[in-house]
Amino acid sequence: MILHGDSSEDEVRRLFEEFTGPIFQKPPLRASVKRAVRVREIYACELLEMADRKVLFRIACQSGTYIRKFCSDLGQVLGFGAHMAELRRIRSGPFVEDKNLYTLHDLLRAKREYERCGDESPLREVVRPLEEALEYMPKVYIRDSAVDAICHGANLAIPGITKLDKHIERGDTVAIMTLKGEAVALGEALMTTEEIMELEKGIAVKTDRVVMRRGLYPPWKGK
């Protein structure tokens, strides 16, 4: 962030603290969403370095927060304005900078390696199984017999469930997984964990997006 006036490190630090928590934000002029004031959560904001008017800081925020806007808002409060100079996303949910982050060059090299020597390990290293993306999602594990129906778009009923996350609320987005740990679909929970544990039948999860391809598991033939 580049400030448009002189400020002290303490002043900036105090402002970061002030801006932590839920804040109002209006998306910038050139935005891909409706320009209405909305609430976004800033989990943490930390000043790393400051030289003259240049400020280097680290921020953890809710998805959909415009950092460019955050900088200019901060400048407005300071009185002289500020703008964002550079931004690097260091984390997005389960994707972090220091774990399995690869460049386009790495990808190209891995692909060439596979084509030339038939060694698939570099390619497997760069391309990760998509289940890793669902690491922080509440999960529902289902029986083999229920998989094919879900793949065809059916909703998940209670008899198909074997294991599930302890803290599922109604309306949460959950990942439906097989017992082998493969992702089958994403859905919206229609029941809480307690209800699913108590009841014997009923629809527990509404399927929204199927991930697994059809025909991988055999269709259920009835008892």
Partner: protein, 113 residues
């Protein structure tokens, strides 16, 4: 030059305390995760694969890349390049970074359905 009154501006960006209580203060990856068992069942090894032992073709179809996007090209352009390198028909990206921003973006070579 016009100057904003400082104390007044702050009240615009900060939410009142009573709304603060309703907000979840933890990022999603800090939420507690725990598994409870409803009924035990075994899985048939004849169908499907463990996510780490899929055949390569399946692995790429059900894969994702944590890609370090260079500042410059847009997320959309980079998606097209990954498509070309891997030779897959369908690919998506989660989260968009502006052209000038580098960093981690997940990309999933989606199912070719």
């Amino acid at each position: 030059m016009f100057e904003f009154p400082k104390s007044h501006m702050l009240s615009i960006y900060k939410l009142p305390q009573r709304k603060l209580r309703r907000c979840r203060m933890k990022p999603p990856w800090m939420m507690p995760r725990e598994i409870v068992v409803k009924s035990e069942d075994a899985t048939d090894p004849n169908y499907g694969w463990d996510p780490y032992h899929r055949p390569l073709e399946e692995h790429i179809k059900h894969g994702m890349i944590n890609l370090d996007k260079p500042p410059g090209p847009s997320s959309h352009e980079v998606t097209a390049w990954v498509k070309k390198i891997l030779g897959v028909r369908r690919i998506g990206h989660g989260g968009t970074l502006g052209p000038a921003n580098g960093g981690a973006i997940p990309r999933s070579p989606g199912s070719s359905r």
